[in-house]
């Protein structure tokens, strides 16, 4: 049977790519082989458009144990402890079926982490929805939030934080990025590289069904109005089986019987088996009659391309089969030897006593196409903005409007649906600058923050890329931790368009610059292209998940102001940068001009100075200044404690709003005791770090002399109403 042009195209392959396939095989492919190639060569699995640029990112330093290329990144946090983490997108499935799409996104990222030997200790997420006015938004928001909760709560891993944003750019293409963080012993980390010939290849976990067939190909295609017809390609999650699989795998990992292990994620059995063989430079032979199936009469094509969830592939030491099987029997999970490793460097599939596929492994993995796609340099608009030309707005009115906007509103409507404290090691839940989770039974903790700023990236991808790394770094500093490393999820449009590719390339280069300067390596990540509908691409949205460390549980701080009479200083200079700010967006609907600039030298200097003050127990609470500027950050500190603030008028600005709502970078608000001010001043001077006093903590009135006076209760109310109102309207 000859493969037709239509078959090639319906598999998301280009005609010249098929030509390459024929060359590798020395013959026509059969349909199964075509399916396997399409699964391995699509953007999602092969990173064919992104690989040459991803290589620019720094991925090593002395704490990195494993960088990109494995299921997740691994870092050393001292003693015998390692932290394993990764973020991944599940955008397309979540738009089609929000509950299952989001749930299986969580399931997939958890497996990436426990495959490597870690017990997951926390989940985070970054979710972006269309405009609240869009009629799909409410349903998507509800579905995604309950899907994330439904999965994580059931498996029993706390969801400790994240971010939720709304913008019409995501109206037809929402973003659901989930991050998992796990803890392992440094000398007990498991990799996917196969070793040894004739070793049993074992299938464990759920049975294979017809769900999710070609999910990875779907994730590599644009959406159009028929996309909702793709529902059958969305996988269905079963958190109960995931929990069993997690416990069974961790139990087996305590023994010395696993040679390599890989979860069946995107492109299921295909990618997991090929990945293991490819990394070990071996071949693999599978007997598909043995694959545990959920449905009758499944074809090899369906088995190889199914994306049924909660499945793993393990290469075992051949003498340990019985011991391993006992563990999976205990947990009532399938455990079946479905094949063996070979020295042929080929993927050979047998079914009904016939060889049904025979493909060189290198053709599927190393020889997958790689493109240096055309890209267009981004033109950044000049900053010709003048606040004087705007109609004046009272500062309190502007503050209320920003605090009650969807992006700035308190997110407890969302986070109350997530179990944030199961496992009993959560020290700081969501709502602060970073989540803090203790390393179980140890006197140390990690901090985690997930951030994005698409609004900056769309205006200047290079600065935006730099900015988001810096903001993430800042958030980890603000709780008193030392930032260690990041994972990234790069959500972009169609890479075949030079403008989109340009955004991608420049974002990466911005990130690279910041990561190198801050010694903040990227240890894992995921690229999600083709986030567009009817040729309209989303804003470039890189999402960063950073992890930091506390070596002392007594130095963890939050943003709640502590005591009246204390003063608040702002570290870092305010220049009055307003373009791309929440102030202009929420009050004037202006979304134009360049984002605030990043000065890496100041960024690093300010951050390290703040960390030093925290380490010296001189800081009582801290909050980074980000979207919304100083006044919004001060209000958030007040809302957290319900204590008021007496705020000083800025000296150098004729228009207060320019000072209070500017989004200049590298700034932190610090609460300190008055009598420590002199000491702190000396320390900051020595570091050459700029600071100024902005406020004093007082009873329950939030005020700026003569301009504004609000009860903290009013601030709280204003900040806590949007989600309830939005969801009360059906």
């Amino acid at each position: 049977m000859k493969i037709t042009k239509e078959q090639i195209q319906s598999h998301g392959l280009k005609l010249d790519e098929y030509k390459k396939i024929k060359n590798f095989l020395g013959r026509e492919a059969n349909l199964l082989e075509l399916g396997i190639f399409s699964a391995m060569w699509n953007e999602h699995c092969s990173y064919k458009s992104s690989k040459i640029h991803l290589k620019k990112l720094p991925t090593k330093n002395k704490i990195v144990i494993q960088g990109p290329g494995e299921n997740a990144g691994v870092i050393d946090i001292g003693d015998d402890d390692a932290i394993i983490f990764k973020i991944e997108s599940h955008n397309h499935p979540s738009f089609i079926e929000p509950y299952q799409g989001a749930a299986t996104g969580v399931g997939g990222i958890l497996r990436d982490v426990f495959t490597m030997g870690a017990r997951p200790i926390a989940l985070m997420n970054s979710i972006h929805f269309g405009s609240p006015d869009n009629k799909k938004t409410q349903n998507l928001l509800n579905g995604v939030v309950s899907g994330i909760g439904g999965y994580g709560n059931s498996v029993g891993i706390p969801t400790v934080g994240g971010e939720t944003k709304f913008n019409s750019t995501y109206n037809e293409n929402i973003l659901v990025n989930a991050m998992a963080i796990g803890h392992a012993k440094k000398n007990k980390i498991f990799y996917s590289k196969a070793k040894g010939i004739n070793k049993p290849v074992v299938y464990v976990g759920s049975k294979t069904g017809r769900d999710g067939i070609h999910g990875a190909t779907m994730a590599s295609a644009e959406f159009d109005e028929n996309s909702e017809e793709k529902k059958p390609t969305v996988q269905v999650g079963d958190p109960f089986t995931e929990k069993l699989l997690l416990e069974a795998c961790l139990e087996l990992m305590k023994k010395n019987s696993i040679i390599s292990i890989q979860d069946m994620g995107a492109a299921g059995l295909t990618s997991s088996s090929i990945e293991m063989a490819s990394k070990g430079k071996l071949g693999i032979e599978l007997d598909l009659d043995k694959v545990p199936c959920r449905e009758k009469n499944m074809t090899p094509y369906e088995m190889m391309l199914s994306e049924s969830q909660e499945r793993m592939l393990i290469i075992l030491d051949d003498k340990k089969e019985n011991e391993a099987k006992k563990i999976f029997d205990k947990w009532d999970l399938d455990f079946v030897v479905i094949g063996k490793t070979t020295d042929t460097n080929k993927l050979v599939l047998n079914f009904n006593n016939k060889k049904v596929a025979d493909i060189p492994i290198t053709a599927l993995a190393d020889e997958a196409p790689q493109y240096d796609r055309k890209w267009k340099k981004f033109k950044v608009k000049k900053n010709d903005f003048k606040i004087k030309e705007l109609k004046k707005i009272k500062t309190d009115k502007a503050l209320f409007k920003i605090l009650s906007s969807p992006d700035h509103s308190n997110k407890s409507w969302i986070t109350d649906q997530f179990d944030q404290v199961v496992m009993c090691d959560t020290i700081q839940k969501s709502g602060g600058d970073a989540a803090v989770v203790r390393v179980h039974k140890k006197e140390k903790a990690i901090s985690i923050s997930v951030d994005s700023s698409a609004n900056y990236c769309v205006a200047d991808p290079r600065t935006g890329g730099k900015q988001i790394i810096c903001e993430n770094w800042r958030n980890l500093i603000s709780v008193g931790s030392k930032p260690l490393a990041v994972t990234n999820c790069l959500n972009f449009g169609n890479p075949e368009k030079p403008e989109v590719m340009g955004e991608f390339v420049e974002c990466i280069e911005g990130m690279k610059e910041a990561c190198e300067f801050l010694d903040y390596p990227v240890v894992s990540g995921n690229v999600s292209f083709y986030n567009e509908t009817n040729s309209k691409s989303i804003f470039p949205t890189p999402v960063i998940g950073g992890v930091g460390i506390f070596d002392n549980l007594n130095r963890i701080i939050d943003m709640k102001t502590k005591k009246t009479g204390n003063i608040i200083i702002v570290v870092g200079k305010t220049f009055g940068h307003l373009t791309r700010s929440s102030f202009l967006k929420e009050i004037y609907s202006i979304n134009d001009g360049p984002p605030p600039e990043i000065n890496l030298t100041n960024e690093k200097n300010n951050g390290l100075s703040v960390l030093n003050l925290i380490k010296n127990n001189l800081v009582l609470s801290c909050h980074d200044v980000s979207s919304g500027g100083i006044l919004v950050a001060l209000a958030e500190m007040s809302i957290a404690s319900m204590l008021g603030l007496k705020i000083t008028k800025p000296k150098k600005f004729s228009d207060f709003n320019e000072y209070f709502f500017a989004e200049d970078q590298g700034r932190y608000l610090l609460e300190i005791e008055k009598n420590n001010l002199e000491k702190i001043e000396k320390m900051l001077k020595k570091d050459n770090t700029f600071y100024e006093v902005v406020a004093e903590v007082q009873n329950d009135i939030f005020e700026i002399d003569k301009t504004l006076s609000i009860k903290t209760e009013e601030l709280y109310k204003c900040n806590n109403q949007w989600f309830n109102k939005f969801n009360a309207v059906n």
């Binding site: 309950s146 709560n153 059931s154 079963d238 958190p239 109960f240 109350d416 199961v422 959560t426 549980l553």
Partner: protein, 225 residues
């Protein structure tokens, strides 16, 4: 004291409660649901989680497991049993406690810190709390909306079998402080002999000052009294 924590597939608060018990010097054993014998213990804990994925109905499948026969026997013989969250659901499903736990009012999973008011402390479980004390605990459930018929409710009320009710920070038992729609703000109930307690809030999640608070510890200290 000796304790046993029963572990079902899908339990996920078993480790948390074990950590708390061990911190208080309980000699604790984890008992797998397939076991047919319970070790001799002064306290049996049915922990929270999603036993059997909460499929069919929360707690329904766990109530039919091997080990539950032993738990029922022990309960009827007067052993101290506490079921927390999913454990409460299981105790109701197996008949050791009466009533029903419906889906939360609002039909959403709720996880947050709440307050309960101690209604009576003259029992094995709450004697280290003061009567009317307001205690912060955490809840995390989908089906915690307690309901029962009038006759049973009267029996519970007349015999001091409702030890804890949801309240606000100041101790007011109001609709606004009822997180899940439970009848009369009921957060936990006893059986007739007060040796079996089912409660939705998680005391083990408030047993460590560094993470949260230690306002849940007196419950376990009471048991040692």
């Amino acid at each position: 004291m000796k304790s046993s924590v029963v572990v079902f597939p899908g339990s996920n608060c078993d480790r948390d409660i074990a950590v708390t018990l061990e911190k208080l010097q309980f000699k604790n054993t984890m008992v797998w649901h397939k076991e047919t014998k319970l070790p001799k213990s002064d306290l049996i804990v049915i922990p929270g989680g999603f036993s059997y994925g909460d499929y069919l109905r929360s707690g329904a499948i766990a109530a039919k497991s091997n080990i539950l026969n032993e738990v029922i026997k022990a309960g009827n013989d007067g052993s101290l049993i506490i079921g927390i969250c999913n454990g409460f659901q299981i105790l109701i499903e197996c008949g050791l406690l009466q009533g029903a736990l419906l889906r939360n009012f609002g039909l959403k999973f709720i996880s947050k810190d709440i307050f309960i008011k101690i209604q009576s402390n003259k029992n094995k479980f709450f004697n280290k709390y003061k009567k009317d004390e307001v205690v912060k605990l955490n809840i995390a459930h989908n089906e915690g909306n307690f309901f029962t018929d009038k006759k049973h409710l009267k029996e519970l009320e007349d015999n001091n079998l409702i030890p804890i009710k949801y309240c606000d920070e100041k101790g007011n038992i109001t609709n606004a402080s009822n997180p899940n729609g439970s009848l009369n703000n009921i957060a936990g109930i006893f059986n007739k002999n007060k040796n079996i307690l089912g409660m939705m809030p998680h005391p083990e999640r408030m047993s460590d000052k560094i993470c949260s608070d230690d306002s849940g510890l007196p419950l376990f200290l009471s048991l040692m009294n």
